[in-house]
C-alpha cells in the first residue's frame, strides 16, 4: 500500500453477493481510463494463458495428426490423419494405462475422502491445541511428491522395508509391493491418500463449521445421538462440498504421474515391469520422452483431455441434480 494513499474511509460495503454490483461506467467518473481499461487488467492473464496453455493444447492437437517420431528422420511434418487415434483405440497398453488410472483413482479417492470425512468429524469439536492438531493433519500436504515417493519406496521395500517387517510380525509373508496389481495399486494409493487426506479433511471441517447449530440443537431435542446427527445432518449439509472434493480428486487421479513414476525403481516410466501401475499420464510421458513418439503421445494427450472433459461434465450434471434436490 502506497504510503501517500489516503486512508480509505470506513464505509459500510454495498457489494453484497447475490445482488449484482453496480458498475463503474466511464460516464460517472469522467477522469477514468478508457473502456479498454478492464481489458488491460485481464490481459496479462489471458495473454500468458494463451501463449503457455491454450496454444500448446491446440498445437498438441495438430501434432497428434502427424507421425512425428524423433528416432525417424524427417517424420516431423508427415501428416497421417487419424492414424494415431486408430492406433490408440487398438493399443492394449493405452487401455491398460486407463484401467490402472481408474483403478488407482478409486483405490485412493474413496478411502481418502471417507477418512477425511471421519477426521473432519473428529476435528469438529472443542479441542485443546486446535492449531497444532490441524497442522499435524496437514503436514503431508506440504511434502512434495518426489519426497513422498522416495520415502514410501523405502517403507514399501520388498526385502527390508518396515511395512513388510510389520507384516512379518503379524505372521504374513512379505509382499512385493512393486509388482502385481493389488500390491502396487495399494502402495501407490497409500501415497496419494497420505498426502491428500488431511487437506480434504480441512475442507470438510470448514463446511461442517458452517452448518447452523440450530439443526443439531433440534436433532438433540428429538433425541438423535452423535452418529445419527452425523448421518442425517452433517452428511446432507456437506453434500455440495463432498461433490466438489469428488470432482477435484477425480481430476487429480486422472492426472496421477509423480507417485507411480518415482515408485518404479527402474525409472523407465513403465510403471512396473508388467505396467501394473503405469497411469495414463505416465504412459504419455513414456511415449513422449522415452520413445520419442511425439505424434502418438499427443494423440494420447488429447484422448485424456476428452476423457477428463466427459468425466467433469458427468460430475457437473450430477452436482446440479443434487443441488436441485436441495
Amino acid at each position: 500500500m502506497t504510503p501517500s494513499a489516503p486512508a480509505p474511509p470506513s464505509v459500510r460495503p454495498g457489494g453484497v453477493p447475490g445482488r449484482r454490483a453496480p458498475a463503474l461506467r466511464g460516464g460517472r467518473a469522467p477522469r477514468q481510463g478508457s473502456v479498454l481499461t478492464p481489458y488491460a487488467l485481464v490481459s496479462p492473464f489471458f495473454l500468458c494463458f494463451a501463449v503457455f496453455s491454450l496454444f500448446p493444447l491446440a498445437f498438441t492437437g495438430y501434432v497428434s495428426l502427424t507421425g512425428w517420431n524423433t528416432r525417424r528422420e524427417g517424420s516431423e511434418a508427415t501428416f497421417v490423419g487419424l492414424e494415431n487415434y486408430r492406433h490408440l483405440v487398438a493399443d492394449p497398453d493405452a487401455w491398460n494405462a486407463l484401467r490402472n488410472t481408474i483403478g488407482i483413482g478409486m483405490l485412493s479417492a474413496v478411502p481418502q475422502l471417507l477418512l477425511a470425512l471421519w477426521i473432519a468429524h473428529l476435528l469438529n469439536g472443542r479441542l485443546r491445541g486446535r492449531l497444532f492438531v490441524r497442522m499435524g493433519v496437514l503436514v503431508p500436504y506440504i511434502t512434495s511428491v518426489a519426497s513422498v515417493a522416495i520415502i514410501f519406496n523405502g517403507l514399501f521395500a520388498r526385502d527390508f522395508g518396515p511395512v513388510n517387517w510389520l507384516l512379518g510380525l503379524a505372521g504374513c509373508d512379505p509382499v512385493d509391493w512393486h509388482s502385481g496389481l493389488l500390491p502396487s495399486w495399494t502402495a501407490v494409493s497409500v501415497m496419494v491418500i497420505w498426502r491428500w487426506t488431511g487437506y480434504n479433511a480441512l475442507i470438510y471441517l470448514a463446511a461442517m463449521q458452517a452448518i447452523p447449530p440450530e439443526l443439531y440443537e433440534a436433532a438433540a431435542i428429538d433425541g438423535a445421538g452423535g452418529w445419527r446427527q452425523f448421518l442425517h445432518i452433517t452428511i446432507p449439509s456437506l453434500r455440495p462440498t463432498i461433490i466438489f472434493t469428488v470432482i477435484v480428486s477425480t481430476i487429480g487421479s486422472m492426472q496421477l504421474f509423480g507417485e507411480p513414476y518415482l515408485f518404479d525403481l527402474t525409472r523407465n516410466a513403465n510403471g512396473g515391469a508388467a505396467r501394473e501401475y503405469q497411469t495414463f499420464v505416465l504412459y504419455i510421458y513414456q511415449q513422449f520422452w522415452f520413445n520419442g513418439r511425439y505424434g502418438y503421445a499427443s494423440a494420447l494427450a488429447w484422448a485424456l483431455f476428452l476423457i477428463i472433459v466427459v468425466i467433469v461434465l458427468v460430475n457437473l450434471v450430477l452436482a446440479r441434480r443434487v443441488r436441485g434436490e436441495d
Binding site: T2, A5, D91, D159, F160, D176, S179, R267, F290, N291
Partner: protein, 425 residues
C-alpha cells in the same frame, strides 16, 4: 505475511519479472561468452565415466575453461539427449552415449560433430569399435570410444565357501565353461547355500551377459529388427527363464536402491561383471571389500556396454568441446580412468601397457583384471546394434522381470515381442 505492502509487492513483481527475463536468472548468461573469454563446458554423463580430478587437470592445462558435469540415470540421460537433439537446444557440450544407444543417434549424425574432420587419432581403437559409432558409409564418426564392457563373473568367495564350492578363480571358472553350466552350478550352489542367498541378482542381467557373446542380437547386419526370430535371443531367454524357475535369481531391480542393498547384504553369490561393474560394486558396497573375486565369463568372451563421447553441434563451444572430448578419450586419460574407476579402456594400445596389463584389483581379492578383461574382449564378436536397441533391450528386461514375479514365460515372451514391435513402429 506475504501480502503486506501489497502495492510494493506488485511493483516488485514487475521489476523481478523483468529482471528474470533479462538475465535468465543468471543461469544461462555464462553461455554467451565469446571464444576468447572464459568458457564453461558441460559434460553429460550417466555413470562414473570421468573423475573430478581429470576435469581439474584439464582446467589447469587450459586456463579459461571450466568443466561442469551433468548427471542423470541411464534412461533419463539418453532420453534427455534425444529430446535436446529434437528441440535443438539443451544438450551438454560433450555428451556420453552408451553403445546400445549410439546407433539410434547415427540416423541423426548431422546433429553431431564429425570426428573424421577433427584430426583425432582413430588408430587408438580397433576398427570395429570405431565402426560402431560411424555411419554405414563410414563418412561420419560421431563418437569417440571411452570404455568398453569386457565380461567376467564376479563372485563372493565367502558364500562359495559356505556352499562348499571352490573359491579359487581357476576352479570357479572351470565350474561354468558355458552359460548352461553356469545355471547348473547355480543349482549346486542353492543346494547348500547359506540362508537368504541365491545365485545371481537379476534375470535381466544374466540375459545381457549371455547375449554379450553374440554378434547379432536384436538386429541383423542389414539393420532389420530380428529380435523375435533370432535363435540366439530365444536361447538366452530360455536359459534365463530356466534359472529363474530354479530359484537362482534374487529378483532385484538392477541399478536400484534395493539392488545395492542386495550387494551389501550378500543376497546373491555371483553377478555378471562387465568391467564397469567393478566400480559400481566398489562404491555401493564398500564393506564387501575382499569378499569378491573374479572368474572368466562363461563362453570365455563377451562385451556388455561401454560408451562414446559425442559433441552435439548445437553447442556454442564446439571447438573447445571437441578438444575436451578428444582429450578425455585419449589413451593416457583412459589409463587414469582405469586406475581410479576400473572402467576398461577401449583404446587397444593401452592393453599392453604395464599399467593396464599388470593391474590387480585389491577390492576383488587382487584379481588380475589387467589380463581378465582383454582376454574376454579379444575373442568377443563385433556386435551389431540398431536405432531401437536400447528400447528393445529394456522390453526384454521388463519381460524377464515379470517372469521373476510369476508371469508365464510364454506370455512374457510374446508381450516382449509386442513391446518390441511397438517400439519399432
Amino acid at each position: 505475511m506475504l501480502g503486506t505492502r501489497a502495492g510494493r509487492t506488485a511493483a516488485l513483481a514487475w521489476i523481478t519479472a523483468t529482471a528474470v527475463l533479462m538475465t535468465g536468472c543468471g543461469s544461462s548468461s555464462d553461455e554467451e561468452g565469446d571464444s576468447a573469454g572464459p568458457v564453461t563446458l558441460t559434460v553429460g554423463v550417466f555413470g562414473d565415466s570421468f573423475t573430478p580430478e581429470l576435469y581439474r587437470a584439464y582446467e589447469a592445462a587450459h586456463p579459461g575453461v571450466k568443466i561442469k558435469e551433468v548427471r542423470a540415470d541411464y534412461g533419463t540421460h539418453h532420453n534427455n539427449l534425444q529430446a535436446h537433439l529434437t528441440s535443438g537446444a539443451g544438450a551438454a557440450d560433450v555428451e556420453l552415449v552408451e553403445i546400445g544407444q549410439i546407433s539410434g543417434y547415427l540416423g541423426q549424425s548431422d546433429k553431431f560433430v564429425n570426428f573424421k574432420d577433427t584430426g583425432v587419432d582413430v588408430a587408438q581403437w580397433t576398427e570395429a569399435k570405431v565402426a560402431q559409432a560411424s555411419t554405414s558409409d563410414g563418412s561420419r564418426l560421431i563418437g569417440l570410444p571411452t570404455d568398453t564392457g569386457g565380461l567376467a563373473i564376479c563372485y563372493r568367495t565367502d558364500l562359495f565357501e559356505k556352499a562348499g564350492l571352490p573359491t579359487k578363480p581357476d576352479e570357479v571358472s572351470a565350474l561354468f565353461p558355458t552359460w548352461e553350466k553356469y545355471v547348473e552350478a547355480g543349482r549346486t550352489f542353492l543346494a547348500a547355500a547359506p540362508k537368504g542367498t541365491v545365485w545371481f541378482d537379476a534375470a535381466g542381467n544374466l540375459f545381457n551377459g549371455i547375449l554379450g557373446n553374440e554378434a547379432q542380437t536384436y538386429y541383423d547386419s542389414s539393420g532389420n529388427v530380428v529380435a523375435g526370430q533370432n535363435p540366439a535371443v530365444k536361447k538366452a531367454w530360455d536359459l534365463a527363464v530356466e534359472a529363474v524357475k530354479a530359484g537362482e535369481s534374487a529378483k532385484l531391480s538392477a541399478f536400484s536402491a534395493e539392488w545395492n542393498t542386495g550387494f551389501q547384504r550378500g543376497q546373491f553369490a555371483t553377478v555378471t561383471c562387465p568391467a564397469w561393474m567393478l566400480g559400481y560394486i566398489r562404491t555401493n558396497a564398500p564393506k564387501t571389500e575382499g569378499k569378491w573375486d573374479i572368474a572368466t565369463v562363461p563362453g570365455g568372451s563377451g562385451n556388455w556396454g561401454g560408451s562414446f563421447a559425442t559433441v552435439p553441434t548445437q553447442g556454442k563451444h564446439q571447438k573447445q568441446a571437441v578438444e575436451l572430448a578428444t582429450w578425455l578419450t585419449a589413451s593416457e586419460q583412459a589409463i587414469t580412468i582405469y586406475k581410479t574407476l576400473g572402467n576398461f579402456p577401449s583404446a587397444v594400445r593401452t592393453w599392453t601397457s604395464p599399467e593396464v596389463a599388470d593391474a590387480k584389483d585389491a577390492f576383488f581379492s587382487d584379481a588380475p583384471v589387467g589380463t581378465i578383461f582383454p582376454a574376454s574382449l579379444e575373442k568377443a564378436p563385433v556386435q551389431v546394434y540398431g536405432p531401437q536397441w536400447g528400447i528393445i533391450n529394456t522390453a526384454f528386461g521388463n519381460a524377464l522381470t515379470t517372469v521373476e514375479k510369476g508371469t508365464d514365460p510364454e506370455k512374457a515372451w510374446s508381450k516382449a515381442l509386442k513391446d518390441v514391435a511397438a517400439a519399432a513402429g
